[in-house]
């Protein structure tokens, strides 16, 4: 059960939408740049050689003795990709709720997106990056695909670090232009930010949900614990009460700076917290009027 019932109920008014018209074919929910076969009538246009004869409006031909082709709004499917950071730092949780790791929240968030995509007949896929490799769970549609990806989300394990650039290189090619890409990470992976900017620069609608723990937000420690990087990059020892103000100021500044950079690259950057409901970031990302 990845999605809490109240969260599932709150998903109803949300719509996945891309800033770019989806390029995919099929009967979807979204307006396509192409006209053609569809359910909604768009316009008549003069016949051109090459048009399928069955698309000629024969009743109109009988009235006007001219060939007209009936064009419809072509409905399109949106491609939704969720890229989840599975590096060791995603395994971090608050001491108050050791079960609610960042990764668990990320999985729940991804499940929400898949649920929305299923409701919209969109195609969706999952890419889990961590443990020094890239795991792709290819795109598909429908409930079965949603459930398959749900199982994959359930099996995600946080560990290791991000793979090198060579492993990431094929990714942009797998994600079709115009796709909606939702990246869920903790913001401590520069490679992930780089990937997001690269995708956003090549006509993919990229959003970035930065999952923070409540401890990173509030720094509620006392005593002088050793702050250790989950990925083993380093350790700091400090008296918590003394460094709290400095930490909050520095970390806040770093987050603001990163947010600015992402926004400048055209990425919708949203924060989520391990101790808060996920409906807030979901509404901010997908809460607008579903649209055009």
């Amino acid at each position: 059960m990845l999605i809490a019932p109240e969260l599932l109920a709150a998903l109803a008014p949300l719509r996945l939408r891309s800033r770019y018209a989806p390029a995919g074919l099929g009967t979807g929910f979204h307006a396509s740049p192409h006209r053609g076969s569809g359910l909604e009538f768009a316009e008549y246009r003069a016949y051109q050689p090459g048009d399928e004869p069955r698309r000629v409006d024969w009743k109109l031909y009988a009235r006007s003795d001219r060939f007209f082709v009936r064009d419809a709004e072509r409905d399109a499917q949106l491609h939704v990709w969720v890229i989840v950071d599975c590096s060791a730092s995603m395994g971090q949780a608050d001491a108050a709720a050791p079960q609610r790791t960042r990764l668990a929240q990320a999985a729940a968030l991804a499940a929400c997106v898949f649920e929305l995509a299923t409701r919209q007949n969109d195609r969706f896929g999952l890419i889990a990056i961590g443990n020094d490799r890239v795991a792709m769970h290819g795109d598909g549609e429908g409930r079965r695909h949603r459930d398959r990806l749900g199982l994959a989300l359930d099996a995600l394990q946080a560990g290791g670090a991000w793979p090198d650039a060579a492993a990431l290189a094929p990714l942009p090619a797998r994600i079709a232009p115009g796709a909606l890409v939702l990246m869920i990470g903790d913001g401590f992976e520069p490679a992930m930010d780089g990937l997001a900017m690269r995708l956003a620069g090549t006509r993919r609608d990229v959003s970035f949900v930065t999952l923070l723990t409540a401890e990173e937000r509030d720094f509620p420690f006392d005593g002088s614990p050793r702050f250790e990087d989950p990925e083993g990059a380093g350790v700091r020892r400090a008296v918590a009460e003394r460094v709290r103000t400095g930490f909050l100021a520095r970390f806040g500044a770093a987050r603001a700076e990163r947010q600015r950079e992402l926004t400048r690259a055209g990425i919708g950057a949203v924060d989520a917290y391990t101790d808060a409901s996920l409906i807030v970031p979901l509404r901010r990302l997908f809460g607008g009027v579903p649209g055009a």
Partner: protein, 363 residues
Amino acid sequence: MTVWLWPLGLAALATLALPIVIHLLRRPQDRVVPFAAWRHVTEQTSFRERLQLRAWLLLALRLLLLAVLALLLAQPLWRHASRSAPAPWLLIAPGLDVAQVRALAPGAEAHWLQPGFPPISEAPTGRVDLSLLRELDARLPLATSMTVVLPSQLVDHDAVRLRLRRRVTWKTVPAPLPVVPQQAAIVAVPASAPDGEQRTVRALVAAWQADGAAVELRLLETGAPLPDGLRLLCLFDAAPDAAAQAWLAGGGTVLQSHAADGHWPLQAQPVGQGRRYAVPAAFDVTAIPALADIGEPAALRRLLLAPLQPPARTLADAVAPSDGAAASIETGTPLQPLLLALAALLLLAERLCALWQSGRRDD
């Protein structure tokens, strides 16, 4: 007022250093927090920061617990100090100057150390009997203090230290001793004794006198009573009559010769409280040539004239009751149950506090 029955137990207070050291060494700083934002935390580890004591409450509880356990080891007693101490007793040996003694312990209830413990307004009779102190010690409540005033030397005392339940203030005053007149020891020889043996005794007595002993030879006529101060009765081959036997059994010394059970050198045979020496033949130089030896008179003097009674005088200070086990029994309310309850409470509080601390650490 608190009394420690085993003050050495207070040495356990040294263990108080233990929790302090533990709190200094095992600090919660060693807990590791996985924290991806570690780069934004400033490193701050000065030695003073590390030496800072944490968990003050827990430390205080542990120190208190150890202190209470140490006090428990020392076995404290609560002595009610001023519960109207009964009037002290002043016991005066009969024969001492009352006015002089009263100055030693003014205000005390003065009694004679005599059967019945009569007040000093009555005239004293009899001698000092220290065993009366045992009786009084058993009779008086323990809180009553006793002061005993004695002459510095006691006569006819068995010289055994008294053991009493309480500490007794033991005072001695110089007092005139009863004078025992110095009297010459009398060696008696029956007038009917053989000549040779009489001569031997006479020679011995002469030798002893020449050596400085107060000895006097006296011839006894048959049927005459035994003289006062008789030390040695030389009966030789005569059998002791009834008076001589009574004297012998009462602590006299008799020398006999031609005895079947005789023996040379002389060996004492106890008879009642007295002793009898016997030789197998005549007591003269012809029968016993060793009598003529130059050291023989001195040896015989040690045997024959040795006093039977042990010295009967004692220094009063030497028989002061010992502050032994009996005297050191402290009375009071033992504080152990109270301390045990306190220790149990502290242990509970310490455990709760430790639980609370560890719970807070996990947050």
